[in-house]
Symmetry: C2
Subunit: 387 residues, 2 copies
Amino acid sequence: MKIAIMGFGTVGSGACEEAKTAGGIEVKRILARHGREGYEYLNDIITADIDDITGDPEIELVIESMGGIEPAREYVLKCLRAGKHVVTPNKNLISACYKELMEEAEKNGVRLRFTSAVGGGIPWLFNLLRTKRADSITSVRGIVNGTCNYILDAMHDKGADFGDMLRNAQELGYAEADPSSDIEGTDTLRKTVISTNLAFDAAVTEEEVPCYGIDTIKACDIAYLKEKGLVCRLMMSAVKKGDAIEVSVEPAAFGKDSLEANVKTNNNLITLTAENIGTQSFYGQGAGMYPTGQSVIQDVLDIRDGKEMEIPAAASGLRADNSEAVRRYYIRHDRMCEHIEPLIDTFEERDGIYYCISKPIKVGDMHAMGHHRKEKGKDMFFAALAE
Amino acid sequence: MKIAIMGFGTVGSGACEEAKTAGGIEVKRILARHGREGYEYLNDIITADIDDITGDPEIELVIESMGGIEPAREYVLKCLRAGKHVVTPNKNLISACYKELMEEAEKNGVRLRFTSAVGGGIPWLFNLLRTKRADSITSVRGIVNGTCNYILDAMHDKGADFGDMLRNAQELGYAEADPSSDIEGTDTLRKTVISTNLAFDAAVTEEEVPCYGIDTIKACDIAYLKEKGLVCRLMMSAVKKGDAIEVSVEPAAFGKDSLEANVKTNNNLITLTAENIGTQSFYGQGAGMYPTGQSVIQDVLDIRDGKEMEIPAAASGLRADNSEAVRRYYIRHDRMCEHIEPLIDTFEERDGIYYCISKPIKVGDMHAMGHHRKEKGKDMFFAALAE
């Protein structure tokens, strides 16, 4: 099968390498402004003109690895309209434009697949669809951001500060120069939206999902939780309750004997629960040139060989709805005011800092309070107590 | 697709139920001596005559869920020769007759698949084949016997005796009346042979794999390991080293912060390592009517829709070879003799019992010593120290 790659960064070149390993896939064109060091032998197939790809009838499939929304969206639409299958690891694009792109693919009789958009090298979305073929999914949840997990795990192991461990993650190449989409939970949010929509044939949007990251965590939070036998992780969570999907992104505190608590460094662990089969988890490298590149190529092989799983239309009518979702939270703050006090079940005060366990609180209320205090520059961190 | 089921026990009826959930599969015949309580509506399609299945041109696929080797082997061969695909969860059969059955399927242009033979409801073998399509497997290992894990986990949690926890497992239906194939490691051995052969395109046999179970473990072993921060699990392990596959079944002691140590009750955790993608693990229910039944039906759907993964011929030439495999072991015994003493690095003696950590020992030597002492009725238990 002859393919093209749009975007020749880490994932694009990883996919190029993995295509060689897999065999039977020829990269005919690469859309990029310039070549890449170490890949000079590919200079002849590099083009800056999208029409060289969409206009080439030999190219059956295009890998989009440019990242971001525009011009990726425009180029993917062009490829689909030109009758080419598209494979992409681009979570921003799929989270934001899922419905539009799937409908365009459908209209043109081609496939759009994006297994690597959640879980990197872990075949999560593929297996979610495969399980769904013969069962009803009741929940999806997991650790899907390796950068945050690296930071939280390192803070737990070393008693270190957030800022120092973030800098470590940047030095190791796990975190970007601008790490905000990781640490504020946006990356996890996008993966949550994608997983939720596939799990429940839904059309949930990013705006409907409460999202609170780990950028306000401190060494004292980790130390307090550790003392109580708990370990903090940033979690995606989507649970079907009747016609509602209770869906959120937030830190959660797990017992130290749980699988989640023992996911080390930058690994991911993603779990589904289904009515008949019970709980299934998938663990591995959620990012990186070779894992993500291979996951991209697995989608390519699936499409080439007709082995991809069907994606049903987003027609279940299930909606994001947290109105009945209540949880008990760990909350750390520095001033016991009249807004917080009524929510607290138990607390300890140490050196002017309040470490609290809340009564059951609505998820929306907890997130609103957290964001309000963050905007005001006031100290607070919270984490759901995992059941 | 019209199918038949041979054998109508727990897994056969589970597959029957799951076929209904999946849809598009009609069970036309069931081979059984008599009907099953709760399934009286199926009495009309029950037959005791295999020819009613092999002679029916409408039946395209047969599920073999009789268990054991004969007459399952004979019937499966008949079905393959009659041009019918076969799906089976029967690990005894696949472990013992893999090459013969795969060659017969190939000769008749039909498919034989057995994802549920290892890991029950976990899509382990399917994903192993899928990863292998684009990568080179370097090791497979895991907890693949839920009964043993239930016993080990309960002993660890409660400080209880082996015999009491085995009886609990029997009462819960996790262990058979005759539990020997679970606790002596034979069930794990079969799953190891199947996983190893798929991972490495090999033709390893049960006889070539050193196998030591958990039937000699005592509460004092668990307590000693726990004191050292270790947790005991029964492991399958197959690692590629050059042209050799170092393959074994044995208890292993893991640090309490590992994923393996935190696999609770009767769950399974199975892990592959591949050259490019690194480590991937799969977790879930390794047995049970619905999980195993669903895994069987997933194979049926794959074959119906042409979505099954290819199984390459067992032609890699890689062989089981533990001659260079050395490990450090925890060894508990009651008499420090001239055979054991030279192998020991450090030990503690408590109440006449020796708790030892060995120097690096050849796997074959450790297993030979363990089996020798078991045959002589002498006390010993050992567990490899996981790296």
